[in-house]
């Protein structure tokens, strides 16, 4: 009896804390949804459609392959673009970290690129290239490349000199230096970079799809605009939001698994 009471108490505490946690996440969205639904009462559906309609449109997209294929096409374009930008950016960052001359040459160029709007790249891509998928890949890579490069470079520069010297004192081969020191040291920053750039890429991709794509979320959004279909526009937008949240949570999960070696302070910032 006595030994059971605390256990029962703990489990009910756990349930309670999960519930309050869920409520805390849900609260801001509940307010947003309520405000929208109130607006839907007073405005015509082409301005503020009921969220019930939006919900059913989402279900429709999920359950119809011809529609869901558009989501997958866009997701593929985001991931391919990010992967391309990451590989090139990491290579450039390593070169810049190794040589001051390369850094002095590339830094201004990348900074200059950062100022170019995504829409300008769209125009350039249409003028320069033919293939639609290649145009999109080109735009995705160039818009995310500077950020990836600077983020990886920052991570390389922030590596502990003490630890690097310690590893160097064992005279590692280049491959061993990367596998035992450089990669594990910068991995947390690489994960963060992916999370940040994923959000940027999902915003750029719909613009990139204006190069004449005949499928994808950007293309569908354009269709909804022409039809003045607000429920459809919202439903397609939500597809990208869901995707970004899904991948970001997957990365966070991976982080908690991989970086459990880090000391955690019981007192938070």
């Amino acid at each position: 009896m006595n030994s059971r009471a605390p256990a029962a108490q703990t489990s009910s505490f756990a349930v309670l804390s999960v519930l309050t946690g869920a409520a805390r996440i849900a609260a801001p969205f509940a307010v947003l949804i309520a405000l929208w639904q109130i607006a839907a009462q007073f405005f015509p559906p082409y301005l503020f459609p009921s969220l019930v309609d939006v919900f059913w449109r989402c279900i429709e997209i999920f359950t119809h392959w011809s529609q869901f294929a558009n989501v997958l096409a866009t997701v593929w374009r985001i991931l391919a673009g990010l992967a391309g930008a990451f590989v090139i950016g990491a290579l450039l960052a390593v070169l810049m970290a190794r040589s001051l001359a390369v850094d002095r040459f590339l830094s201004p160029i990348l900074a200059f690129f950062q100022g170019i709007p995504a829409l300008s790249w769209v125009v350039f891509a249409i003028i320069w290239f033919h293939g639609i998928e290649f145009r999109i890949f080109f735009i995705m890579v160039l818009t995310t490349l500077p950020a990836f490069t600077f983020q990886v470079l920052g991570a390389l520069r922030a590596m502990s000199k003490d630890l690097t010297e310690m590893v160097m004192s064992f005279r590692p081969t280049r491959f061993k230096l990367f596998s035992t020191m450089i990669v594990p040291a910068i991995l947390p920053d690489i994960f963060t970079a992916w999370k940040v750039n994923l959000g940027n890429a999902s915003r750029v991709v719909v613009v990139a799809e204006l190069v004449g794509a005949t499928g994808g979320v950007g293309y569908e959004l354009l269709q909804q605009q022409q039809l003045f279909d607000m429920a459809g526009a919202l439903a397609w937008t939500l597809q990208l939001v869901f995707f970004v949240l899904l991948v970001q949570n997957a990365i966070t999960l991976l982080e908690t698994m991989l970086f459990s070696y880090r000391a955690v302070s019981e007192r938070t910032l």
């Binding site: 003490d162 630890l163 010297e165 310690m166 590893v167 160097m168 004192s169 064992f170 005279r171 590692p172 081969t173 061993k176 035992t180 020191m181 594990p184 040291a185 970086f259 070696y261 880090r262 000391a263």
Partner: protein
């Protein structure tokens, strides 16, 4: 004194020179100014195979600079440093597996467990996983860390971490051991115990060891020989100690060192 000297002369004759400084100077550019700062000045020193030499000097006298030149991490501005007949800076890779270092701070990789940290040097030598973990386990146990193999560094105390870093240095079985004030950040009791264990391990395994310290007591406790440096690093006093020297003999050396260092 003569008896002690005789004893070491016989030893020296048999042992080849392992580390040699030949008119070595090291200057650093001062940041923002054109000035050159001289950290090591015309240093000549020979360390023979099997010696455990304590290098003693005040903070900032250039001990770490000298140390990093032996380790091949810094290049002399003038003169020559030779270790085992090779240049540690330009022939950096030749020393793979031949030099092991214990730093002032433990410098454990935070993403590796204790045993993975100890196995690091063996990994660089391309030794199989099974073999390097067996060796790492042996040294961890020897340093009293059995049961902590799978702990991450953040879960270990300062003394335990430094033990792991000593195990890491011994695990590669390098002939030359370099230590830069490895116990100065530890409390006196822990430091005392580790000093004794360390000196015993060095002698048991026949290593040549350079032990940097700013503490006269530590130098006396550990060294077969004490080299006292003034600022900029230049030898002011070089003395060989008898292993079981009397307290009186030690006091004499201590007094002499104090006089040289003017403390």
């Amino acid at each position: 004194m003569t008896a002690a000297a005789d004893h070491f002369v016989r030893d020296d004759a048999a042992a080849p020179v392992e580390i040699r400084f030949d008119h070595v100077s090291k200057t650093f550019g001062r940041h923002g100014t054109g000035d050159l700062f001289r950290a090591v000045d015309d240093l000549n020193l020979e360390i023979r195979s099997g010696e455990l030499v304590a290098i003693l000097g005040k903070t900032g006298c250039g001990k770490s600079t000298m140390f990093n030149m032996i380790a091949g991490l810094l290049e002399p501005s003038e003169g020559r440093v030779m270790v085992s007949g090779h240049d540690p800076f330009s022939q950096f890779d030749w020393f793979r597996g031949k030099i092991a270092i214990v730093f002032q701070n433990d410098r454990l990789l935070p993403w590796r467990t204790a045993i993975q940290n100890v196995a690091l040097g063996l990994e660089m030598l391309g030794i199989s996983k099974a073999e390097r973990f067996a060796t790492a386990q042996h040294w961890l146990t020897k340093l009293g860390l059995g049961g902590h193999e799978n702990d991450y560094p953040h879960a270990l105390s300062g003394g335990m971490r430094q033990r792991v870093s000593i195990a890491r240095a011994f695990a590669t079985n390098a002939n030359i051991l370099l230590c830069d004030e490895p116990f100065s950040a530890l409390d006196e009791m822990t430091a005392n115990r580790l000093r004794e264990e360390f000196a015993r391990l060095v002698r048991e395994n026949g290593k040549t060891a350079v032990f940097i310290t700013h503490s006269i007591n530590e130098a006396l406790q550990i060294g077969d020989r004490i080299v006292v440096l003034l600022r900029p690093a230049k030898i002011a006093y070089d003395v060989k100690l008898e292993r079981d020297a009397s307290a009186a003999a030690n006091d004499e050396v201590r007094a002499r060192i104090r006089q040289v260092l003017a403390v």
